[in-house]
């Protein structure tokens, strides 16, 4: 048809139309190219300015932190909404002169001197450089409007809605809550604080820290369009709502807590108490004196004098939680633990009789009953009732030949190890043992190895023993509940904002210890008699207590200080629900200081005053001041 070299001809009509179509394409691309040239090359600068005027500012909408409530739903820790005037250090003018000018302008408006602003900026960014600096809290709305309208003059200045912790009950349970502060740079690297930014608040101690992931909400974000000066131009590009943190219900009973703190406070010396459910380890009250006002930590800058006070030894170190961090010998409150060891290792039976002649001599050393008393022939319950030291010295000496039986049983009951309570910073204490002392001796840190005298001392809670009310409460609870060494906890339940329970906090016991029922019975009977039978060590305090209960006094020597006063109670007898352990530094005899504090706590727990009032048909009497126990000389028994 066609020769190979000949170019085939298209019909003229078709060729024309192809040409027109091609021309159309050419025109189309030309238009686009010229338009692009005009937009990008010729007007690029103008549009660049427009783009710079089109900025986005992300405004964080803070989520309120969850509240902390007591077991009955009473608010313990709440939130207060506040308007905070903040400086964003990264957005302040770079030049020193401009910065000073801005501080001068700002200072006039908010009533601070430029120097003061400078100081705040320096102090608050010392450790957290990217942190927004809060200059003032609770600023006036008119000031907010003024600053918004004149935003261009105040770069880096903003007003934020923030939530501040508030404590409606003042210092109540301060050491349990801990405090909330800005997240630190180190914390931001930790997995549990993933996703937080500088300036976010996290729990730094106490349950605020333990349950931070529960209490902390998720911030919302509003992305608004702003011009180059940062003034909103009206467009909201996107919005996510904040999600409030969940509420935390503590097992704390406010009445019990308040009664304990009031009683401790009234006594005036440093001390601590723990009230706990013996079955599941729920803490009903846990307090330490002296205490402090937790709201000091909500201030943007904490005055140095406040910090000094809270942490100073002179002021009794109010920040310290003596209930979980205290390190004290226990005195005679340790005797029931020694009794468990002696009974279970076979050196004693409930009916074994030991004659207390007032003095116990071993290896040339002579140990006397406190006060020089002698009680004659005793069996275990009576020995506990009168708190015979000689009886327990004998047990201590006998246990010396039973290897580590005493340490083994004390340790099994929880002495000398952290209990695992959900309040950070718990102390381990010290349960002295032959290995421990022999190692010290080998290292040259002490003048002698372990000897029988150490066992004798430990049998009555003296010597090197160091523990705290929480460990004692756990040990007594195990004797009372049949051998469950509970894991104490103050967290009870997590609720969402609508009050729906989302998580029960009910940790399993640390372990179970087998104690023969007849042994437990003998011990409980002994300390019941100690509290409520005439001649018992705490009969003067609990003799007339309307609820049958059991309790053991303790008076520990803490040279060179005055004696440490202890009391541990179990109630009601013979099937206890609650254990209360209280201790007071330099409180003297257990019956004089710690026992009355314990009584106030038990009264609150059992509503004793309301009961009596009801029985009398009269009005509920106002709680009086703490009763002073009768003088030691008037007491019918051994007050130790």
């Amino acid at each position: 048809m066609f020769s190979e070299r000949e170019r085939p001809l298209m019909p003229a009509q078709f060729a024309l139309r192809v040409a027109i179509l091609s021309g159309l394409a050419l025109v189309m691309f030309s238009i686009i190219f010229f338009r692009l040239w005009y937009l990008q090359v010729l007007s690029g600068d103008r549009y660049m300015k427009a783009a710079e005027n089109n900025q986005v500012r992300e405004i964080t909408v803070r989520a309120p932190r969850g509240e902390v409530l007591d077991r009955n739903g009473h608010t313990l820790v709440a939130n207060r909404a506040a308007l905070a005037l903040q400086l964003q250090p990264t957005e302040l003018p770079r030049s020193h002169r401009k910065r000073q000018q801005e501080f001068a302008r700002l200072g006039q408006v908010i009533g601070m001197s430029p120097d003061q602003i400078q100081r705040q900026l320096r102090e608050q960014t010392k450790e957290l450089p990217a942190n927004p600096v809060t200059l003032k809290r609770d600023v006036d709305h008119n000031l907010v409007y003024y600053l918004r309208e004149n935003q261009a003059q105040y770069p880096g200045v903003s007003v934020q809605h923030v939530y501040v912790r508030s404590y409606p009950n003042g210092s109540l349970a301060a050491q349990i809550f801990g405090y909330v502060r800005e997240v630190t740079e180190e914390q931001l690297k930790e997995a549990r604080y993933q996703g937080l930014v500088p300036g976010d608040q996290v729990g730094q101690s106490g349950v605020e820290n333990t349950y931070d992931n529960v209490l902390r909400g998720i911030h919302g974000m509003t992305r608004v369009q702003v011009d180059a000066q940062g003034r909103p131009t009206g467009g909201v590009l996107s919005q996510t709502q904040p999600r409030a943190g969940d509420n935390l219900l503590l097992s704390i009973d406010s009445r019990v807590q308040a009664a304990g703190e009031a009683a401790l406070g009234a006594f005036g010396n440093p001390g601590a108490f723990v009230a706990m459910n013996v079955r599941d380890g729920e803490i009903l009250g846990l307090g330490s004196a002296p205490t402090y006002d937790p709201s000091v930590f909500t201030k943007p800058v904490i005055p140095q004098s406040t910090i000094d006070h809270i942490f100073s030894d002179e002021a009794g170190s109010p920040y310290t939680n003596r209930a979980t961090q205290g390190l004290y010998p226990t005195g005679s409150t340790f005797k029931p633990i020694t009794a468990v060891a002696a009974l279970e290792s076979g050196v004693l039976t409930p009916t074994t009789t030991i004659v207390d002649g007032g003095t116990f001599t071993i290896g040339g050393l002579s140990f006397k009953n406190a006060g020089g008393a002698s009680y004659g022939a005793l069996q275990l319950p009576q020995a506990l009732q009168v708190s015979s030291d000689v009886f327990f010295y004998n047990l201590g000496a006998d246990l010396y030949s039973h290897e580590d039986a005493q340490q083994h049983w004390a340790s099994e009951l929880g002495i000398g190890d952290p209990t695992g309570i959900d309040i950070p910073g718990e102390g381990a204490g010290l349960l002295p043992s032959p290995e421990w002392r022999d190692q010290l001796y080998k290292d040259g840190d002490t003048d002698r190895p372990w000897s029988v005298g150490d066992n004798v001392n430990l049998s009555v809670g003296q010597g090197d023993l160091q523990t705290n009310p929480l460990q004692m409460a756990v040990a007594y609870a195990a004797i009372a509940n049949g051998g469950d060494v509970v894991r104490p906890h103050v967290g009870m339940e997590v609720e969402d904002v609508s009050g729906r329970a989302v998580q029960e906090i009910d940790p399993a016991p640390q372990r179970h210890v087998e104690i023969a029922p007849q042994y437990r019975q003998a011990i409980l009977q002994g300390i019941h008699m100690a509290a409520q039978s005439p001649g018992g060590t705490s009969y003067p305090v609990f003799g007339n207590f309307p609820i049958p209960m059991a309790g053991k006094t303790g008076t520990a020597e803490r040279y060179p200080q005055a004696d440490q006063s202890w009391y541990v109670a179990l109630a009601p007898y013979p099937n206890p629900q609650i254990v209360v352990a209280a201790t007071i530094e330099q409180g003297g005899f257990g019956v004089e200081a710690a026992a009355p504090v314990t009584k106030h706590i038990l009264e609150a727990y059992f509503n004793v005053h309301e009961r009596e009032a009801k029985a009398a048909g009269g009005k509920v009497p106002k709680r009086g001041p703490i009763e002073t126990p009768p003088a030691a000389s008037a007491a019918p028994g051994n007050p130790y």
């Binding site: 048809m1 066609f2 190979e4 070299r5 170019r7 085939p8 001809l9 298209m10 019909p11 009509q13 078709f14 060729a15 139309r17 192809v18 027109i20 179509l21 091609s22 159309l24 394409a25 189309m28 691309f29 238009i31 686009i32 190219f33 338009r35 692009l36 040239w37 937009l39 990008q40 090359v41 007007s43 690029g44 600068d45 103008r46 549009y47 660049m48 427009a50 783009a51 710079e52 089109n54 900025q55 986005v56 992305r223 369009q225 009206g234 467009g235 590009l237 996107s238």
Partner: protein
């Protein structure tokens, strides 16, 4: 009109030579290169812009788009192996399937942003109005030849117009203005290439102008608006883009700022307009704004050059085709691409009303990518068939 078989505009020497020199399945290498270039640059752009959209899954969009592209390329290669001329016999079936598909969407499609375009399938949402583009081209080109000699010219023109405008009207009711415009352009292109008289075109021009003015001006004036509010707003707002930054003009304004601020070489990772959400639909209808802002005039010119290459090859294949059916198809595809590129880019640079047309192979979306690649597959098929014919003819002559 034209005869079924007419002297083919065919460059046998070049086609035969090309086949022997570069033998990638006998495909048009330039067309293939332009296609792969656009897909590659599209994925690159998409990756840059959507990296932070889905937390912990920076390649969410890229991976999906890549899967669509692979499916599309497979279909393209399959179509290239088939002799497109067979589709002419299937024209009635193709046309019925097309109309059926878009009516189905009207009946059970789900509403997105006030318009129904999707059918939910187990694995992805399928947009029949996109597939309808290639079906319409294959069917309408067939009908154009079919009636060639028997019917008088005016009737033939009217028939083809009707066949093209019916689906346009249906998708317009969905409502999808952009696709309706594309159908109209396809129909006009087929009529144009098939050689409809100039007088008919002139008349058509007058009628279309009248219809547009009726829709835009007269219908709203007498209280029976044809366009939905947002369409009315979109279509007319480009005439005065700065009037109110908070409504339809907002998009054009922001897009202009985005492209303009890209200047000569682009703002790269410093882009704010498309990054911070000022420009809407940045992965689909406004992806050209992203290219303009990120890669500047250089990047935009590069992408446009690839489109120019694509369209040039389509027009070239139109002249190489062994038969009129192939010329009609390639002409319509060329016109379709021209329309989509011009309208989409035109919207982004503020010279066209906002209509919601995708940028072929660049916009995110499975249906669009797959259908575009199918259309390119048809072009390749026409090229392959032309080459085979010329080769056998050359052998015969030898």
């Amino acid at each position: 009109m034209v005869s079924d078989v007419y002297p083919r505009p065919f460059d046998e020497r070049r086609a035969a030579g090309a086949a022997e020199r570069r033998g990638i399945l006998g495909l048009d290498p330039v067309l293939l290169l332009a296609t792969l270039g656009l897909i590659g640059f599209g994925l690159f752009t998409l990756g840059k812009v959507t990296g932070g959209d889905i937390p912990h899954d920076p390649y969410f969009y890229v991976i999906r788009q890549a899967i669509y592209a692979v499916i599309g390329i497979a279909l393209m290669l399959a179509l290239a192996r088939v002799d497109y001329s067979r589709f002419r016999e299937l024209r009635v079936g193709l046309y019925t399937a097309m109309i059926g598909g878009i009516i189905l969407v009207l009946l059970l499609g789900q509403a997105t942003r006030g318009s129904k375009r999707w059918i939910e399938l187990p694995f992805f949402t399928f947009q029949p109005s996109e597939l309808a583009k290639v079906l319409l081209i294959a069917a309408l080109a067939g009908f154009a030849i079919d009636r060639g000699r028997r019917v008088n010219e005016r009737q033939q023109t009217a028939r083809l117009l009707l066949m093209g405008f019916v689906p346009a009207l249906i998708v317009f009711l969905q409502p999808d203005l952009g696709t309706a415009v594309t159908y109209v352009v396809i129909t006009l292109a087929i009529l144009f290439v098939a050689g409809v008289r100039w007088t008919h075109f002139a008349l058509l021009g007058v009628l279309l102008t009248a219809a547009v003015s009726a829709v835009l001006l007269i219908a709203p004036a007498i209280g029976h608006p044809v366009l939905k509010d947002y369409q009315q707003e979109r279509v007319t707002s480009f005439l005065n883009p700065s009037s109110d930054p908070r409504d339809a003009t907002y998009q054009i304004n922001q897009s202009l700022i985005a492209i303009g601020s890209g200047s000569k070489t682009g703002r790269g990772a410093d882009s704010t307009q498309t990054e911070n959400g000022f420009v809407p639909d940045r992965t689909t209808d406004f992806i050209f704004s992203v290219i303009g802002e990120r890669f500047g005039f250089v990047g935009a010119a590069f992408v446009l050059s690839l489109y120019a290459l694509l369209i040039w090859r389509a027009l070239r294949i139109m002249t190489l085709s062994k038969n009129l059916y192939g010329s009609l198809i390639s002409g319509a595809i060329a016109a379709m691409f021209m329309c989509q590129v011009f309208v989409n880019v035109g919207v982004a640079i503020g010279i066209m009303p906002v209509t919601g047309v995708t940028l072929p192979l660049m916009s995110f979306g499975g249906s669009s990518v797959v259908v575009t690649l199918m259309a390119i597959g048809l072009l390749q098929s026409i090229y392959v068939q032309a080459r085979l014919t010329s080769k056998s003819r050359a052998d015969l002559l030898r």
